[in-house]
């Protein structure tokens, strides 16, 4: 069979497959993501205000313990199996907040616990969350480098 006819078959198949692919309800998904994501941020704001008024934090530093608390809640919900059920419904609404990052790490760690603490939990924890750290850190390095050079050149 020639190269071109095989490509033809593939093309026909892709057209055929894309016709049967269910249409994604984009608008509905966006509304759900907006409401759920917004609500998670409101909860975060409430926790931030709690740290702001009850402890010695200012507007800038209060977000650190807030993020840690939100992550703890997300890990617990993941452990009880609640977060993943919720995430199926909310899509990006639960994935984009930092809770989704915590969920990715906790669920990977819990799923592989039977393989032992080192190879199971240790090496699988960053399986899903790793790219975020790798690309975030590299991008931040480049941005900071460019900014530092500009500042130093400018005086």
């Amino acid at each position: 069979m020639g190269q071109s006819s095989q490509e033809d078959i593939q093309k026909t198949y892709q057209q055929f497959a894309s016709k049967d692919e269910p249409k994604r309800p984009v608008i509905m998904n966006c509304i759900k993501a907006f409401i759920i994501g917004g609500l998670i941020c409101v909860i975060g704001q409430a926790i931030q205000n709690f740290y702001l008024y009850n402890f010695d934090f200012n507007e800038q530093t209060a977000s650190d313990p807030t993020v840690a608390t939100v992550i703890l809640i997300a890990v617990l919900l993941t452990g009880f199996g609640v977060y993943d059920k919720f995430a199926q419904y909310a899509g990006a609404g639960t994935a984009v907040p930092v809770t989704g990052f915590a969920n990715a790490m906790a669920s990977a760690a819990i799923e592989h616990r039977t393989e032992g603490p080192v190879f199971g939990i240790g090496s699988n924890m960053f399986k899903l969350a790793g790219p975020v750290i790798v690309f975030g850190t590299t991008a931040a390095f480049i941005v900071a480098l460019v900014k530092t050079i500009i500042i130093q050149l400018g005086g």
């Binding site: 998904n29 994501g37 704001q45 994935a95 790490m105 592989h112 924890m125 991008a139 460019v146």
Partner: protein, 116 residues
């Protein structure tokens, strides 16, 4: 009023993520990576900090703030120690998030069994 803007801005960042998944057809891992890189770039040009002042947790809870915090830590050290400071400072502000996620996830994996 802070709660209202936290809701709106946080919700809108999630909508951007949903559009990247549904319309640009990116897998979730790519989407989150793109958002983090976006946050880093926005902080680089100085737009993320005003957003945090305006929306509070609406800007700090989404994963975009992770990119923002990475740049912030790097820049704070870079101002004192130059280029080397970028490396030593990059995780300074994000320590809370990363440490919490690692420690709590590890403990959770010891306690909980997989569901379903």
């Amino acid at each position: 009023m802070m709660y209202f803007w936290a809701f709106v801005v946080g919700g809108l960042i999630c909508v951007i993520g949903q559009l990247l998944i549904d319309v640009a057809k990116l897998p979730p891992g790519h989407t989150l990576s793109a958002l983090v890189v976006g946050g880093a770039v926005l902080d680089g040009i100085g737009w993320y900090e005003p957003l945090i002042d305006f929306a509070g947790a609406g800007a700090t809870v989404p994963i975009t703030s992770f990119g923002n915090s990475l740049v912030h830590g790097a820049m704070a050290e870079a101002e004192q120690h130059g280029i080397v400071g970028i490396i030593t400072g990059i995780f300074e502000v994000t320590s809370a998030g990363i440490s919490a996620a690692i420690i709590f996830s590890f403990l959770a994996a010891l306690i909980f069994k997989p569901k379903g």
